[in-house]
Amino acid sequence: MTITQFVTKNWVYIRDSLVRHLELVVIAVLIGIVISIPLGILLSRNKKLAAPVLAAVGVIQTIPGLVMLGFALLLFGIGMKPAIFALSLYAILPILRNTYVGITGVDAGCIEAGRGIGMTGSQVLFMLELPLALPSIVSGIRISTVYIVSWATLAGLIGAGGLGDLIWTGLSNYNTQYILAGAIPSAVMAFLFSGLIGLAQRALTPRGLRRVKQ
């Protein structure tokens, strides 16, 4: 079978897998962002808590993807729900760590000056800390997204679909075309996300900081 024939014949399968993969990634990363950024801000206010929390989240990161999906499967059964649960957990660490590091890395003199001239706590946060930590936070989102595109290929194993489904079909039948049909789009998706978020990161870096690097 030629490639064209293969793609035409399996078009619906490939398209649905791709869309499902995107869905899994976007939802998991969004959940990761919603949990991590506020938590990161909280930790930056309470540094004693930061080390144990970051360590605990770090342990989650060392749990192999297959294991995490296995647990999620046992907890939630087959389908998208367990996959999204497991993937969101993976999305947390990079964003959380980068939010924390970004905020605590803001020049102490700058914060003291902000407080000293009469900014309220939330003004310091929104006018100084978050804008200055934004490049770091976005970089965390980028790392998370690339991870998630990768781990989402395993979602096929627990019936959540996605491009991993194609790869898995290919692996179990020794069919190279299925493998390629899953592997290539997933790799391209990872490159695209990484590149696009990288561009966004540059655009979101405050101008005053961009010039420092020159």
Binding site: G109, E112, A113, G116, I117, M119, P131, P206, G208
Partner: protein, 375 residues
């Protein structure tokens, strides 16, 4: 008027302020000075409540500041710090107008403030207003730091070693500017420094602190004439001598105390590097108990040194030493009679107090004759 009444502050067991009472009058340039750990910065930060006292009362114009909203209080008090702390994500204009904006001044008013303040320090609006802090030199940044503090016309400005990180020439320029602005705008300035030169140059009143207490509050002239204790005397050291004729000159009066000292366990490469960086060709080497071991020169290391080895074996004892309490005459004679470039001055316990070089000697002589020399 700013008043402290019996203010105490401790961190754990360490007492920082010990029943401190003081007064700073309106329109006064008050300089807080003292050895490190004397509580001067704490005193300053109590005024805008970045730190809260344990007990005692602080009032501004009779109003107890602990009863005020901290944010409102701080917006009425300018604040300049050593790290400058300009907001790197904002332009010069945005930095200066931040407090007026927080106070919700109308836009035209903010614009006007930025224009007139930049004019005050002769930084043209067109050229600087839209630059970011990272594009300015250190001196320009701190000028903007001062302007930011002045923007909402606060009657009081607090300055915490604002010029400590600047080079001497820029520092002097900013001191002059600050003094000029203070006179012109009639601000009350509370200024912390550890540099007596700076205090003498700027202050209407110097408040000398020691171990959390105010030891003396006096005008620069009065303090020079009648220092309250030996510590103040030593802080003003060379200024005193020029004011009072002089006592007997000792070796220590002629030495410079900034000496590059290294342990004998330091490695050759590090030493070469250090000398290169500081542009010297000799280092003073110390034993492990900090006593004087000898000197080592860059030629010796180049000739005999091996990478990764300690300099222990390269130490030379050809430099002459002298005790700091010896008569300066002896130092003169030794230095003039020999071809040596310097003498090493030792403390009584054998540690190194400083070096007498031909330059440091000439400088001390000049100061003894004509008072303080610039640079």
């Amino acid at each position: 008027m700013i008043q402290f009444q019996n203010v105490n502050k401790s961190y754990g067991n360490k007492k920082i302020l010990d029943d401190l009472s003081l007064e700073i009058r309106d329109g006064e340039f008050a300089v807080l000075i003292g050895p490190s750990g004397c509580g001067k910065t704490t005193t300053l930060k109590l005024i805008n409540r970045l730190i809260e006292q344990d007990n005692g009362k602080i009032t501004i114009d009779g109003r107890d500041i602990s009863e005020e909203n901290t944010v409102e209080l701080r917006r009425r008090i300018g604040y300049v710090i050593q790290q400058i702390g300009l907001f790197p994500n904002m332009t010069v204009e945005q930095n200066i107008s931040i407090v007026p904006k927080l106070l919700k001044y109308p836009k035209e008013k903010c614009d006007e403030i930025v224009h007139s303040l930049l004019k005050l320090v002769e930084m043209p609006y067109e050229e600087y207003a839209h630059k970011y802090p990272a594009e300015l030199s250190g001196g320009q940044q701190q000028r903007i730091g001062v302007l930011r503090a002045l923007a909402a016309s606060p009657p009081i400005v607090l300055m915490d070693e604002p010029f400590g990180a600047l080079d001497p020439i820029t520092r002097e320029l900013l001191q002059e500017e600050t003094r000029r602005i203070q006179k012109k705008l009639k601000k009350t300035i509370v200024f912390v420094t550890h540099d007596m030169d700076e205090a003498l140059r700027l202050a209407d009143t110097i408040l000398f602190m020691q171990e959390g207490k105010l030891v003396q509050a006096a005008s620069p002239e009065e303090m020079l004439r009648n220092p309250a204790n030996d510590l103040i005397r030593s802080f003003m050291g060379r200024h005193m001598e020029s004011a009072n004729g002089t006592a007997k000159l000792l070796a220590e009066d002629f030495m410079r105390t900034r000496v590059l000292k290294v342990p004998e366990t330091m490695h050759t490469l590090e030493c070469i590097e250090m000398m290169r960086q500081r542009d010297v060709n000799t280092l003073v080497v110390l034993h492990e108990d900090d006593t004087y071991a000898g000197t080592v020169s860059i030629e010796t290391i180049r000739k005999h040194g091996q990478a990764g080895r300690e300099i222990r074996e390269l130490i030379s004892d050809e430099a002459m030493t002298i005790s700091r309490k010896e008569d300066a005459r002896a130092a003169f004679d030794q230095l003039l009679a020999s071809s040596l470039q310097y003498l090493v001055v030792l403390n009584e316990d054998g540690t190194v107090a400083g070096l007498i070089t031909r330059t440091s000697m000439a400088k001390a002589m000049g100061e003894a004759l004509w008072g303080e020399l610039t640079s």
